[in-house]
């Protein structure tokens, strides 16, 4: 699970703001999020590190240090957005080996990577990170209704893309 409330609680304080401790606590979770949002392992690694450097630099300015994980997620989303403004999403092309299940998984990853980043982020936050829509809205800088709308559109597009690739 990604940075659940329980795991967030007090972690930043326990870390005493030390970068390496924070990295140990949150680095892996953040990389998982980055991977789901980009579909590319190498890119996820880069974005994780960059997000950490950027977010850790602001740690001293945070009013509530317990919000550091949320701030990390927000930083990551912004970096994913900035990255895809410059580049087209290219999920890593892992061979599927011809298995039906793996083909479907491959198609789903391609379909997910093809969604606009806000839809992708909203879907990852709900179905992977189990974040409430309110927090997703805060991260994406929009209203809760917009989050619900983004998820609905994203799921609809995913379904269409999966059906299309399934028919090919």
């Amino acid at each position: 699970m990604v940075m659940t409330r329980a795991s967030e609680e007090g972690l930043v304080r326990a870390a005493g703001g030390r970068l390496e401790t924070l990295y140990e606590l949150h680095g892996h979770d953040l990389k998982r999020l980055a991977y789901l949002m980009t579909g590319n392992m190498a890119l996820a690694e880069d974005l994780t590190q960059d997000a950490f450097i950027r977010a850790a630099g602001r740690l001293g300015h945070l009013r509530d240090p317990d919000r550091f994980p949320a701030y990390l997620r927000k930083t990551l989303v912004n970096m994913v957005r900035d990255h895809f403004r410059r580049k087209t999403p290219t999920p890593a092309q892992h061979g599927s080996g011809g298995s039906r299940d793996l083909d479907a998984e491959h198609d789903l990853r391609i379909a997910l990577a093809a969604l606009p980043y806000r839809q992708r982020a909203a879907i990852v936050f709900r179905y992977y990170a189990d974040l409430p829509d309110e927090e997703t809205a805060d991260i994406l800088g929009c209203r809760r209704a917009t989050v619900r709308s983004l998820i609905a559109r994203g799921l609809s597009e995913l379904k269409i893309r999966m059906e299309v690739s399934g028919n090919e």
Binding site: L19, R32, Q49, G57, V164
Partner: protein, 294 residues
């Protein structure tokens, strides 16, 4: 695929993600390296500015001719390098289309142009480039030789040829086909993007006059713009070129969000095209009559 399956898949993928590689010390070092890079970049910028001032001082001397700047190849790309390459393959009768665009749009077009039921490329040489790189797609009509025909038969005449001309680079052959070129899948300029004036967060045009193209006024007639329509209750109205448009009767939409191109055909007629669907014709609506007290 249902929601629980999606949730399950995502957790499976996430479980396979290895921990981030470098140790925290390297991360910290990376931050320091970044700071160092910033300082070096600052010094380089100062040096460049100084060099620019020096060059400008040299340029304004009357006895020293100004250096010529090579224009980008996208200016007249289809008449120059693109045409020369097309003529290698046969006789060109006319340039049927020129589409200045960027790599991002080109990739999208390559993905969609064959229609919904055809194989789609997922990765190619263009993915390795910056999405903002300028490129021109040139389409020529004429009679072109085919390097290899299908085995055991006479190849059909190839009357359309498309060439990509990246900015400041050699042109590249895209395809030679029987023609005519399918205009439904021509590369369109970007549509409404979230964050732009007049565009909502889903990339749909708001009904506002102060909006960026293609939502706002000033759309070029005959040019296909990428366009999204909300089709949950069928396709009925659209905001395009700063005006309200309507199709009557409403058309059933294949999905809630329909993505295609919108083209201004005439002053009061616009056409929405989606791969695999019949074109949808919209008519311009008169501006609403203001109420007496407005």
């Amino acid at each position: 695929m249902n929601e629980s399956e999606l949730r399950e898949r995502m957790h499976e993928w996430a479980a396979r993600v290895p921990p981030p590689g470098p140790d925290p010390a390297r991360i910290a070092g990376r931050g320091a390296r970044r700071a160092a890079r910033t300082i070096v970049a600052g010094i380089a910028a100062v040096a460049l500015i100084a060099a620019g001032v020096f060059a400008a001082a040299r340029t304004i001397q009357p006895d020293r001719p100004a250096r010529l700047v090579t224009p980008p190849t996208t200016t007249g790309a289809c008449d120059g390098p693109g045409l020369h390459l097309a003529q290698v393959y046969g006789t060109v009768n006319r340039i049927a289309g020129r589409y200045p665009t960027n790599v991002r749009n080109l990739i999208r077009w390559l993905y969609e142009r064959s229609g919904p039921d055809e194989p789609r490329p997922t990765y190619g040489q263009w993915h390795q480039r910056d999405g903002d790189d300028a490129i021109t797609v040139c389409v020529y009509e004429g009679l072109f030789d085919v390097p290899k025909g299908p085995p055991g038969g006479t190849p059909p005449p190839r009357t359309a040829l498309s060439i990509f001309v990246p900015d400041r680079e050699q042109p590249r052959l895209d395809s030679v086909g029987p023609g005519p070129f399918d205009w439904a899948y021509t590369p369109a300029p970007p549509g409404c993007h979230e964050g732009e004036p007049g565009c909502d967060e889903l990339g749909l045009c708001k009904w506002e006059t102060e909006a960026a193209l293609p939502c706002g006024n000033g759309v070029e007639q005959g040019r296909a713009y990428r366009y999204r329509l909300w089709g949950h209750c069928g396709i009925r109205q659209a905001w395009f070129d700063g005006r309200l448009w309507q199709t009557d009767p409403p058309v059933d939409a294949p999905s809630d969000m329909v993505e295609g191109t919108m083209t201004l055909i005439a002053a009061d007629e616009a056409r929405f095209q989606v791969p695999g669907l019949d074109p949808i014709t919209f008519r311009a609506q008169p501006p609403p009559t203001p109420a007496l007290c407005d």
